[in-house]
Symmetry: D2
Subunit: 336 residues, 4 copies
Amino acid sequence: MIKLGIVGLGRLGKRHAENIAFRIQNAELLAVCSIVEDEIKDAQKNLGVKYAYKDFSEMLKNKELDAIVIASSSTEHCKQIEEALNAGFHVFSEKPLGINMHEVLRAREVVGKHNDKIFMLGFMRRYDASYAYAKKKIEEGIIGRPFLIRCYGLDPVKAVQGAIAFSEKSGGIFLDMAIHDIDLARWYLGSEVKSAYAIGGCYEYPEFKKYNDADNAVALLQFKNDAIGILYVGRTCTHGYHIETEIVGTEGSLRIGSIPQKNLVTIFDEKGAVQECVSGFLERFDQAYVAEIQEFVNCIIEKRKPKVGVDDGVMSTKVAYACKESFESNKLVIIE
Amino acid sequence: MIKLGIVGLGRLGKRHAENIAFRIQNAELLAVCSIVEDEIKDAQKNLGVKYAYKDFSEMLKNKELDAIVIASSSTEHCKQIEEALNAGFHVFSEKPLGINMHEVLRAREVVGKHNDKIFMLGFMRRYDASYAYAKKKIEEGIIGRPFLIRCYGLDPVKAVQGAIAFSEKSGGIFLDMAIHDIDLARWYLGSEVKSAYAIGGCYEYPEFKKYNDADNAVALLQFKNDAIGILYVGRTCTHGYHIETEIVGTEGSLRIGSIPQKNLVTIFDEKGAVQECVSGFLERFDQAYVAEIQEFVNCIIEKRKPKVGVDDGVMSTKVAYACKESFESNKLVIIE
Amino acid sequence: MIKLGIVGLGRLGKRHAENIAFRIQNAELLAVCSIVEDEIKDAQKNLGVKYAYKDFSEMLKNKELDAIVIASSSTEHCKQIEEALNAGFHVFSEKPLGINMHEVLRAREVVGKHNDKIFMLGFMRRYDASYAYAKKKIEEGIIGRPFLIRCYGLDPVKAVQGAIAFSEKSGGIFLDMAIHDIDLARWYLGSEVKSAYAIGGCYEYPEFKKYNDADNAVALLQFKNDAIGILYVGRTCTHGYHIETEIVGTEGSLRIGSIPQKNLVTIFDEKGAVQECVSGFLERFDQAYVAEIQEFVNCIIEKRKPKVGVDDGVMSTKVAYACKESFESNKLVIIE
Amino acid sequence: MIKLGIVGLGRLGKRHAENIAFRIQNAELLAVCSIVEDEIKDAQKNLGVKYAYKDFSEMLKNKELDAIVIASSSTEHCKQIEEALNAGFHVFSEKPLGINMHEVLRAREVVGKHNDKIFMLGFMRRYDASYAYAKKKIEEGIIGRPFLIRCYGLDPVKAVQGAIAFSEKSGGIFLDMAIHDIDLARWYLGSEVKSAYAIGGCYEYPEFKKYNDADNAVALLQFKNDAIGILYVGRTCTHGYHIETEIVGTEGSLRIGSIPQKNLVTIFDEKGAVQECVSGFLERFDQAYVAEIQEFVNCIIEKRKPKVGVDDGVMSTKVAYACKESFESNKLVIIE
């Protein structure tokens, strides 16, 4: 039984906490940490956790714990990773690894030093049943050699006011939203990005302009193996949360989530044949959030490294910064 | 150049006339006949026909004509077929062949006597690109031996008032609507119906009750080769005109028109992913109406029999009557 | 914490046991019972159960237990339900309730006597996210008044040899396979069946004939509110496990699972655009099996009755028998 | 009756000729011109044309003709347009307008001088029922303001050897294949392109490298109104001919042809649910080729300008050249 403590009980942190408490095998949610008192009370009441902390360092003193799950604000990730590893814990951190290149490189160094500890980064899409299946099929060779990927990451317009409020600190649309897609692109294509060119604009919400940000943007990536990446990120999607990925190979192609269907129901009415869509990431990736933490726990038990690690965080951040720089300068950016 | 005269210039007759005038190779629309003066005037103005008649017998005296297309009221079909064949013309008749067993059997006799003439019945679905493709695939064996067919024939609710008005004379929902499906079922399964059991009701429009009719009904057919037929006909379809057919075989199955899509556009909006649907038979079967008359003309030129003939009309009518009888009696009806 | 004991650790029993052990909140798998020694050993090893029994009566003596989950052979259900209720436990039983009318009526009587205990029947489809969503939408009125249901229950042909072996004891295709569909039909239409007419055959596997059984069959049901039910059950589905349900109402219709897609991946290759399909019920209804037991546990905790009870088992069995009788006699069967 | 002469009887020219002969209203195919004797003989035999020419200038002397349809090699378009306009004919020219900027600008000048004549360019996709419907819906405002377009233009791999043979003269993948997409992008977004950045490679067919060409390539376009264009052109599509367009607006989005379905048949077999795909442009755009020539003829009769003219050819060529230049230089190219 792996004993876990979690920091951060916001929307995603709460979901992780619930999953650990009820849906992860061989794991126990022993402690929670949050600066929001109500979140702590809720967790104690609903999840039956034994320990609750307002201070992260205090939680790290609890030696009953085996591992720490970090679901706090992005600004805290890197230092909490370091603190937790130094305190002797296995660490799972939500994406993004960090919010600037300096701290993600530092995180890499720290993780490197604690090679005996499991470190895993929350690129949960790799654990989504459909994404994992696509990877397996590609490895089996059914599309030949993959040479192009198209990634859509579109947030529901219903969430746009939150994005506007967060815009100042978000690092911009590529750092905020494209990180998952960049990770998927590297994973499926098996290569690193060598250049990025990005354009975009504020087509509906001029509020983003203030921080040099966009409500919709596209990046065109060139990989070291000459493969092509197309990233489209947007914050004005009316039909819901649209995560779509297409991988084109020399002998076929795969599409994942072309219609981000809510379920298997099709409604026939005056409008026609209607497939309703998922409303957000917690609905779309419900299963993946369970599977990634399960994998983290399994890695601890079986003493093996997860397939998604600190390097994936470093490289994805690097590419997101290149996209951001290109978008701001309207120039092609070479990633050395 | 085959010279055609058409009788009936209503919605479908007009479409046939336009097709012959502009879209059928090796054919010329030489004459039209209608009891509605305005229809004649329109045809003369828009289709450039040389001859126009108010009286069918008059048109038959025109020996420049090679063939007659009958698109008049269902009540006229049988006698006009007979008159036209006797006058020495090839004949294409719209479905249904006739409105009672007596006259369709008489029509069969008449057609038999004029074996040197081409007679073709307007079961145009057989000439629809998708239906024809399905037939070809079945003949190639891709689904093994077909043993079950499910046919949906749903009229748009927008047309229900017309159906109510026509209910007294229509012969009921099976004779009016299921004829095409019965023909398809016989064609795909390669067997004749041995029994029928049908139920239904007036779920939204009690107006149909007056004539012992239904707004929605289902028949379950057993074929001589033990295959199963499911027919669902309805008049209250909100999403448009829904013609769907599924053929299940021992090694696979085919579905035709599961979503009766208007075109290749999918709309993504607040409702989700929306595929608009076709509004009616002229939209859905536009291509099939051309192809069937083209086949009729080709048969005349090449002196060969079309694959859909008078027997198909006789057998389909027989089955429709069995469905009607079963619906009215709530008893299983054996077709001898 | 509700403490559960399970009897039967076959394919589905094992899944229930795993779910209770790892995925159900507020529940603990305390005991297992099986006549197969290896199954017991596996459960002890993998699920960490405290108690293991070869004899059902022995398990019932364990007063640490709160509730019993019955996943044994269908022939055992009724008597185990009775024994467990009499011993003072809440009971969840897999479908079917029983294998003949006599014992299901007896089960109803027994359940009635233990009104203070929760009894729930495993019609898990009602707890499938898509089926539950459809129910909610219907209750919201989006399709008006439902008047027709079409249910497909097609087992993968890969499982046909098992079905042949089981044919003698299965009670025939309707009792074996259509029970879930009958329950769904009653649930969505809100009415009971008044008559059934069924046909079918051995189109590919004559082996079923020996027991008067079929490899594919269709029933046409008439409900007391005049609604129509179409049931198609088959054992020769080449593309996988195909459970599809369509509910037609006066103002629209819903389809659930028209393509029984494996996941959100579409493969584009020489064949075209390919959507792979689910292989069996454990894959298709994974989430539903969790949700139904969760509901059972919640009902115990919250002292409320589940929405699916013994009457649903009795009525569904009655209808399945009527279908069987009609199939065997080729006559319309009235259910009194 | 508009009397047409056609030059070029290759694959597309032959289709145009057949359409004019049999499917276009108020038009007559009076003359054909080809340097291939067999093509002329075929046309005389099958299409019943009155005049046949080996020399284009000879055809232009025939004053019975009203208009000329140019379907010859791309290298001939510009000079034949000029010759035909100067000879007093209305002109329809297949795309591309020309093969270098110099000659397309010259063509614009010539067309400008013959303002009394109808000149129309063969961007037939605008006349495809689905594309035209999408335009109409956008004009009705259903997706708000369009700000992004994604265009896929993928040729079937079965045609790749032809593309390799033609590579030297084709002008490269963007000029050869992206012209239609560029026209659609301008049309839907209502703006001109201001910059282009393109990458690509020879992922499967190194033969294209010799001419600095690619087998797959992507361009990212920025429009004057800041809208975004994504063009993906490829020559290795295994599932057929894949033309897909997505237009994203502030209030919704449209997708056209996401699955390039052959027809309305879905095949269910061991692979799953399979939708077969169209094999090539003549199959996909059959209806559009008729509709565009019909529009050309209607414009002549009604003395009005078609919506697609010489400027569309000039601007599209300019953008294709910018893509080519960017692809070759790996630099962002600004279009002045």
